[in-house]
């Protein structure tokens, strides 16, 4: 450095104008842009998301692609192994398994996503209201949640399925969501209270920001990320519960089917036709795996604390 020749010209003060420069380090990004950037860098989560899209496309267009109706029986082609004709083979009534797995997937995924949405909406409303009213109302509301969530979930679902004596998708959803919204309600309430106590909300109030704007800029962004992550993790839970109920014989009724129903139907003949179990199980596993991985990715991407 010293070897650079110095001359007196260099030592003329530049004056105050030179020191104005407060240059921003990078162009500012909104929260969601930033989150998307991070999610995109997470290869595993991105792959899981793509896989989910493929699975969804498969369940929508699968039956049309293979050209078989999922209820069409054909005694001549019972229990066939996978072939070019029937890609996933056929079941004991000669129905094409590719079509059945695709249609079953619709039910499983719909139950998973709807379940999570129902739980999300009820949980947000309940938790939000409890946090909003506070005081005694809050205490009573949360006590109810405590009691409801102490009821063993599985027992209640079984009992309700029996009581309702119907195996339609809405009934199953009702039985499965009746107490599981409690967890979401707790999270939402805790998050709301925490934000409400925070200094940035207090600062916004003092500066006279309108309540609507405070809710829009502080409460919703800070709560919604937590909820999205939580709900993503819940979807596999619902798919599992449905599979479990089908397995116990309380799942969706024929002619409708689901991955759980297909897998449990294949159970008795597993020794002879393992592929009948393989495909529905594989799809359950892939779907739940993808949702879990995507949830991990979303959590890392949306957690504002991780933000640099």
């Amino acid at each position: 450095m010293e070897n650079l020749p110095l001359n007196e010209q260099d030592f003329i003060p530049l004056g105050a104008s030179a020191s104005e420069g407060e240059v921003l380090a990078g162009k500012p990004m909104t929260y969601w842009q930033d989150a998307w950037q991070r999610f995109r860098k997470n290869k595993v989560a991105l792959f899981a998301a793509i896989l989910l899209v493929i699975i969804a496309l498969f369940t929508i267009f699968g039956p049309a692609i293979c050209g078989y109706d999922f209820t069409a029986q054909n005694v001549k082609i019972r229990n066939q192994a996978p072939s070019t004709e029937h890609w996933f083979g056929t079941d004991s009534l000669g129905r094409d398994l590719f079509a059945r797995v695709a249609v079953g997937g619709r039910v499983s995924i719909i139950i998973g996503i709807c379940g999570a949405l129902i739980v999300g909406v009820i949980g947000c409303l309940y938790g939000g209201l409890a946090a909003y009213f506070g005081g005694r109302v809050d205490m009573v509301m949360m006590r109810i949640v405590d009691i409801l969530s102490s009821i063993p979930n599985l027992l209640l679902v079984i009992l309700l399925s029996v009581v309702l004596e119907s195996s339609s998708i809405p009934t199953l959803l009702f039985a499965m969501t009746i107490t599981s919204w409690c967890g979401v309600a707790r999270i939402v309430r805790a998050q709301m209270l925490q934000i409400n106590r925070s200094e940035y909300v207090m600062a916004a109030r003092i500066m006279g920001v309108s309540p609507v704007k405070i809710v829009l800029t502080h409460f919703i962004p800070n709560t919604i990320s937590v909820i999205i992550v939580n709900l993503t993790f819940r979807i596999p839970g619902f798919i599992f519960s449905e599979a479990f109920l089908s397995y116990v014989g309380l799942g969706v009724a024929a002619p409708n089917t689901s991955w759980g129903t297909l897998a449990s139907a294949a159970q008795s003949t597993l020794l002879f036709y393992p592929y009948q179990m393989l495909f529905p199980s594989l799809f359950i596993a892939l779907t739940t795996l993808s949702f879990t991985l995507m949830g991990d990715g979303l959590r890392d991407a949306l957690d504002p604390k991780m933000r640099r």
Partner: protein, 309 residues
């Protein structure tokens, strides 16, 4: 602290009452009565007689009060389907079977899950971590009954190492216990890993490092104790679900346990048994919750002392 425990005990009883009431209502709104589903054409007079004998002709509220007072004396009721069979006896007969399998599975799940989780966290981003996380992911993603089916197929048919179904010797236990512990094991491993990583990033770990405490003691004295706190609740939930978690496994492996009996009671519309078993299951669950509260308080001085006041 005692005041706190008493308060929790009160809530526990309240919860139990709520559950009993809800199940009672649900069971009694099931269309039809047990006697029609039991025997196809029961003579009308006999049916009436039964209805009177069991009090089903009385208004619901009367039946409810009667049931609660009966419960308070410790009587869980008797089976409608098999007259003379008390719910208490059923529990005494089948519960040990379920408990042995569920307990073993829980034990394995907790021990292995926590160990693997700790291992993964300490070797973060190296191969042991990746391996454990892959296992844990698969464990959470594959339904229990699929694991059970595959294991049954592989180890009883292809290589007949273990008996397919039944209950009796230790060999009968291996497969059901293995299947049952996979999913809890996986979730413990995942949870424990993140908890350990979280604790390892705390400032007080830096303080310990600055004291010159070696890695082993930092892990054992500082990290593990604090990392395990959040897992206590989770473990207790599993303890509470020890019976209800074994339904599927008992069905697949034809194990004469409480879960299997519960499902058949539902199918038989044997209300009093369903109700009675439900009370037992919930009771265990709620007690496990209480246990978790007490354990947490014993292990976390912050909770213990704030409740003293």
């Amino acid at each position: 602290m005692w005041k706190y425990i008493l308060k929790r005990l009160g809530y526990m009883l309240l919860t139990l009452l709520a559950v009993v009431s809800i199940t009672f209502l649900l069971v009694h709104t099931i269309p039809g009565d047990p006697f029609t589903s039991m025997v196809e054409d029961l003579p009308e007079e006999t049916r009436q007689l039964y209805m009177e004998k069991y009090g089903f002709d009385k208004p619901l509220i009367v039946q409810y009060v009667r049931y609660i007072t009966q419960l308070l004396t410790g009587d869980l009721g008797a089976s409608l389907r098999y007259p003379g069979r008390k719910v208490g006896e059923i529990v005494a007969q089948y519960a040990p079977v379920s408990a042995s399998i569920g307990g073993l599975a829980l034990f394995m799940g907790v021990v292995l899950g926590l160990t693997l989780g700790i291992l993964a966290a300490l070797k973060q981003n190296r191969w042991p971590d990746r391996l454990v996380m892959v296992i844990a992911l698969l464990g959470t993603a594959i339904p229990t009954f699929v694991i059970a089916a595959v294991l049954q197929y592989a180890l009883t048919v292809t290589w007949p190492v273990f008996p397919t179904t039944g209950y009796g010797t230790w060999k009968h236990l291996v497969l059901p216990v293995t299947c049952m512990c996979v999913s809890p094991l996986a979730s413990y491993a995942r949870y424990m890993r993140s908890s350990v990583l979280d604790t390892a990033n705390q400032d007080y770990i830096l303080t310990a490092e600055a004291k010159g405490v070696d890695r082993f003691h930092i892990v054992t004295r500082h990290i593990l104790r604090n990392a395990i706190l959040p897992c206590i609740t989770m473990i207790c939930v599993s303890v509470g679900g020890i019976f209800s978690g074994s339904f599927i496994i008992e069905k697949i492996f034809a194990i004469p346990g409480l879960g299997k009996y519960f499902i058949s009671a539902i199918n038989d519309r044997d209300y009093s048994v369903v109700l009675g078993l439900n009370v037992i299951f919930t009771g265990i669950y709620v007690m496990a919750m209480l246990l978790s509260d007490i354990l947490l308080m014993l292990c976390d001085p912050r909770l213990r002392l704030s409740n003293d006041k």
